[in-house]
Amino acid sequence: MNAAVTSADAESMGSGYLVEGGRTLWSWLSTRDHKRIGILYAVAITTFFFMGGVAATLIRLNLIYPDGRMLSAETYNKTFTFHGVVMVWFFLIPSIPATLGNFLLPLMIGARDMAFPRLNLFSWYLYMVGGLFTVAALLLGGVDTGWTFYTPYSTMFSNSNVILVVVGVFVVGFSSILTGLNLIVTTHMMRAPGMHWYRLPLFVWAMYATSVVMMLATPVLAMTLSLIGLERLAGVGIFDPALGGDPILFQHFFWFYSHPAVYIMILPAMGVVSELICNGVHRKIFGYKFMAWSMLSIAFIGFLVWGHHMFVAGQSMYAGIVFSILSFVVAVPSAIKVFNWLTTLHKGTIDFHAPMIYALGFIGLFTLGGMTGLFLAAVALDVNLTDTYFVVAHFHYIMVGGSVMAYLGGIHYWWPKVTGRMYSETIARIAAVLMFVGFNLTFFPQYILGYEGMPRRYHQYLPQFQDLNILSSIGACVLAISYLMPLFYLGHSLFRGEAAGPNPWQATGLEWTTSSPPPEHNFHETPVVTHGPYEYCD
């Protein structure tokens, strides 16, 4: 360990936690520092993001022509399955909690590290093992079940590497459970003196709500995946009616996890955006307590709406009615959040730095995605729209327009803290705007396609759908460029960026009181907290 950390050292790259724990690869692979583990995750999920992105590119290229001439039907099916599995479990779910959450939560509450540093590292290894299984399945020929593994197709009919992927997702699920556990215990036990619950930054509340969902929902996924294995390998009849099972039972189990999983993806994004907006506007968040409790209510009500994925699956008419009203109820706290963010802009002093542009983009795209969710919650409209491109557009607005915009906004905002260096602000703003435009160009046409009746997961389609598909594919090119851009200018910043100093954004929050990059144990003295998280005074 480098004992002599002067403030001058800390101002420059190659200091703080980046060198204090050692400079060897092994020092990183065996680290228990939450900041280094956050970076291990960031590197891994970025790799998976671009793997999933390659699959997305192939999908969009194939759909330029109605006859799907580029990929065979089988390859196409394997491609969208890989895209879904990788993006959901290996990118979106760990994205914010495991990278920014890991890195920032202890800093934000004034702790030296996470509550269970070894468990933290272990969960990264679990993630990597799960990832290896999934990539192995791809290399050995792929899987064609869709990320939803609907039975009895996945258990009795698919001739692909279902078990390998199921094992991969099963393992990565435990990584997610352990991360959730660690974040919850850390928040309860490790807060600095004076850090009351209502002095926690909203990002910490978001991590807390997310972690609750991770811990309570993910075990159901593990159980469901085990049952798939049991039926597929041992022929135990659980889901296949030919064996006396019930395929709808699978959907109940699966969505009991996978709907809350959507909130695992969006709650952290809401936390990030709250931080970004407060900093961009230089004022206190409007309605702090409503913001905090709305996230917890989303986490709670989110467990009661899974049946809205199954309105036409064969569940009863009455189940449809109950799940419909509950789906409207879960939209209320989301509405609260959007209105509070908007009101936070009121009478602020707004800087349009790149993170703020991402945050504003998030609000726009999340609103569009949320509003179209109301169409799908209205069960009579859902009958026509479900399993069409309308649904594809809807969840991409939430997961990509929402979560990915917020994730990248967060990466930009905390980049100076993580690396100690600044990036090119101009290029970063261009990338953020390009992403907003490219995203809408890609996915807005898909709403119309869905309304016109184009079903999902179609390798070929009727000629009348071609124009909008071409538009969508053009948008995907713009989107791809905007995703590649940060790789270059952030990469450049890593080696050539100007020194950032402890607090380049004049932000509040404990993470900005320590040096950039922070020392190995975050603070030289335990901070004492005397006020709330957003005490901007200009």
């Binding site: 064609d144 409207f328 209105f339 602020g348 349009f352 069960v379």
Partner: protein, 318 residues
Amino acid sequence: MSLSLPEASNFAVPIDRMFNAMLVLCGGVTLGVFVVMFWFCIKYRRGSDANREGRHSTKMGLELSWMLIPFLLFVGIFAWSINLWTLLRRPPAGAMPVYIVAKQWMWKVQHVNGRREIDTLTVPLGVPVRLIMTSQDVIHSFYIPDFRVKQDVVPGRYTALWFVATRLGNFPLFCSEYCGTDHAAMTGTVKVVSREDYQKWLKASTALPPAEQGRQLFVQFGCSGCHDPGSGIRAPVLRGVYGSTVTLADGVTVTADDRYLHDAIVLPATQVVAGYAPIMPTYQSRIDEEDVLLLMAYIKSLGPQASPAQTGVTHAQR
């Protein structure tokens, strides 16, 4: 590229009306969010001389209003949608049944008089049609965008869908639940013809009525060896069984509906009638779903009701 989809069933107009109302409402709110966002962003940009005095960090009245107003709007939308949903789910009593069997990757259709089609569904204009559907293998979904109807087709159970076609012509039919390699090729056409043409088309078939085809299968599969009243082996008599209440060996009483009959043929060991030995072999891999439907048509035709075999429209609710 047209934004308006043909409105070709009784559901299309009311569903579109609701969709358009939602478009106005949600589009309005979204536009409002964007306008306010841009307005604040311009007005309160750093360096502007806007008045920033007297800002609040929270206001209970405001919070409650944007909690309650959306909620009340949602309840309104919900009520509207439920009204339509119950209509979608409750076919009128006299709806004409058509049987659909989905399999990788085709749609097989059986009409009341035994006429069959593949990947085409011919229906008469202006007549309530009720599709009774099951799958031979995996889950499929029967989707006619121009009718605004969709229903998953699930192996091991019968799901239903109804509509009244309101426009003559051909309309695309899609499978909308991913079902394997050729999912995207599992498409077809719904042909809406006039009532007279439909009757003519039905009569042009040489197929035997379903109950008659079922009777032949009943003999062919050896069912009659045990279940015929004259048989020496003790097996439940099938006359009048459809729609009756049956007591099973484990004491449970069930109604002998479609699913019961289906499972009694395919998975007999799962529901042994009280007082009988579980000696019936399974027909699971020996009989396909279309033949099960024919056998059921035969069993139903045995019922005490007046000659259902001729009309074929005795299909009771559920």
